[in-house]
């Protein structure tokens, strides 16, 4: 495919590896924010081809991994209601709640459906006026424009049977939490010296938001794409900045990202959503790190519509997803990894998702 295959060129990748090898004079630790980037790094073996001085720490950018357990339990409770068609992106269906997952609700006879786009859920609501259609709106800034559009369209169409269960999260506050060590156990925290920011989040939001973070913590932040060459170039740019003692924001993914981002998308997002505090699974509360529906869209809020309360969320005692999402531990350091916890029987969300670090390690043979 054009503009994809070129960035998987082995000879060009080896050139970057050679350049990185010549550049590095001492140990450096970088974090890639996005789980999609983690999967490319592990799948292509870049993590094993980099000089020994370079450590990659995997970040929290896996939307289904950080969706709080309470919300998954609420989703399960809503999906069990007979009048509900519960819709979701596919990887959310197998994420374990306290006692079940959405796929097992479907197996019990619940009407749980996988959709490709939130607009598919709006269409279902239009076609099924006698049913309540709920969409599980998870994700970072990348999925927010689509979910905002779905709610907007539902209002334009006058739909009374469409709502979203909103679990949106935002990248910059999470980066600040990681850098500021605001949460979690800091004793074993690796000092992260540079970041690869998520190219598609920045496609929507631009990268101006990262400039104050880079300045405050004096770190290089390189907006990076998702193909092997993108990641190698992003790593090269971050290491070059570190070796030269520079910090600030640079943009590797210029074919898609501008400083200001996608203005029409940001406009609709800010009309439909407002910033709120958000609980992150495994990490904890991060102030002003999520989106919720604005009060004028309260009619489309599934939590209000179905009034799900008395949820007593209970995490698996074995799973150490929280430490993995913060870069404190690598997946194979978990005693349950590839034994009690596999993609077929996941204990925690990072083993399920196409963006989860545990699934990447499992699928691409990083078991030891």
């Amino acid at each position: 495919m054009r503009f994809v295959d070129e960035y998987r060129n082995e000879a060009a990748a080896r050139q970057f590896l050679e350049a990185i090898g010549r550049l590095v004079t001492r140990p450096w630790t970088l974090m890639e924010i996005c789980g999609g980037q983690t999967h490319t790094l592990i799948k292509s073996g870049i993590d094993r081809l980099l000089p020994a001085e370079v450590t990659l720490v995997h970040g929290p950018g896996c939307p289904v991994c950080v969706t709080p357990l309470e919300l998954i339990d609420k989703a399960i409770a809503i999906a069990r209601r007979p009048e509900v068609i519960f819709t979701s992106f596919g990887d959310m269906l197998r994420v374990p709640g306290s006692a079940a997952d959405l796929l097992s609700v479907k197996a019990e006879g619940g009407d749980v459906r996988m959709v490709y786009s939130p607009l598919d859920a709006v269409k279902l609501a239009k076609e099924n006026p006698g049913r309540q259609v709920v969409f599980f709106a998870v994700g970072f800034e990348t999925t927010a424009p689509g979910n905002a559009m779905a709610v907007w369209q539902a209002r334009q169409l006058g739909l009374k049977n469409f709502s979203i269960l909103c679990a949106h999260v935002l990248v910059p506050p999470a980066m600040e939490a990681i850098l500021g060590a605001a949460t979690g156990d800091i004793s074993s925290r690796p000092a992260i010296q540079g970041f690869l920011a998520a190219g598609h989040v920045c496609t929507v939001m631009g990268y101006w938001e990262y400039e104050p973070i880079a300045a405050r913590y004096r770190v290089p932040i390189v907006v990076t794409g998702f193909e092997p060459l993108d990641l190698l170039q992003g790593i090269y740019m971050a290491l070059k900045a570190l070796e030269e003692g520079r910090w600030g924001v640079e943009n590797q993914y210029r074919r898609s990202v501008t400083r200001a981002g996608n203005q029409p998308a940001q406009r609709l997002m800010s009309q439909v959503f407002e910033v709120c505090d958000r609980q992150w699974r495994g990490i904890g509360m991060i102030p002003r790190s999520g989106y919720r529906l604005r009060p004028e869209f309260a009619d489309f809020d599934a939590e209000l519509r179905f009034g799900v309360t008395d949820i007593a969320a209970q995490e698996s005692p074995l799973c150490m997803a929280g430490q993995i999402l913060q870069g404190l531990k690598k997946p194979h350091q978990c005693p349950a990894f590839a034994t009690y916890c596999t993609p077929e029987h996941p204990l925690g969300a990072p083993m399920v998702s196409g963006e989860g670090a545990c699934a990447a390690y499992y699928n691409y043979g990083r078991a030891a």
């Binding site: 495919m1 503009f3 050139q15 490709y116 598609h200 990202v257 996608n262």
Partner: protein
């Protein structure tokens, strides 16, 4: 809405966020929404950079 070919597989995609997109353009699609029109000149820059690095002896030519 518009039709986008993903390496040969066509799908309906919402183009509301890339009003500038024309037939034949490349777009980046996330969950059914085009979120950017790909900048084709910028897309080739990485190969120019590698050529430059090779010319200045920083890396061997591929």
């Amino acid at each position: 809405m518009g039709k986008v070919s993903f390496g040969g597989i066509a799908r309906e995609v919402c183009l509301a966020y890339v009003p500038e997109a024309q037939v034949g353009d490349y777009v980046i699609v996330h969950a059914g929404f085009a979120i950017s029109k790909l900048d084709e000149a910028e897309a080739m820059e990485v190969f120019a950079l590698l050529d430059e690095m090779a010319a200045s002896g920083q890396v061997v030519e591929s």
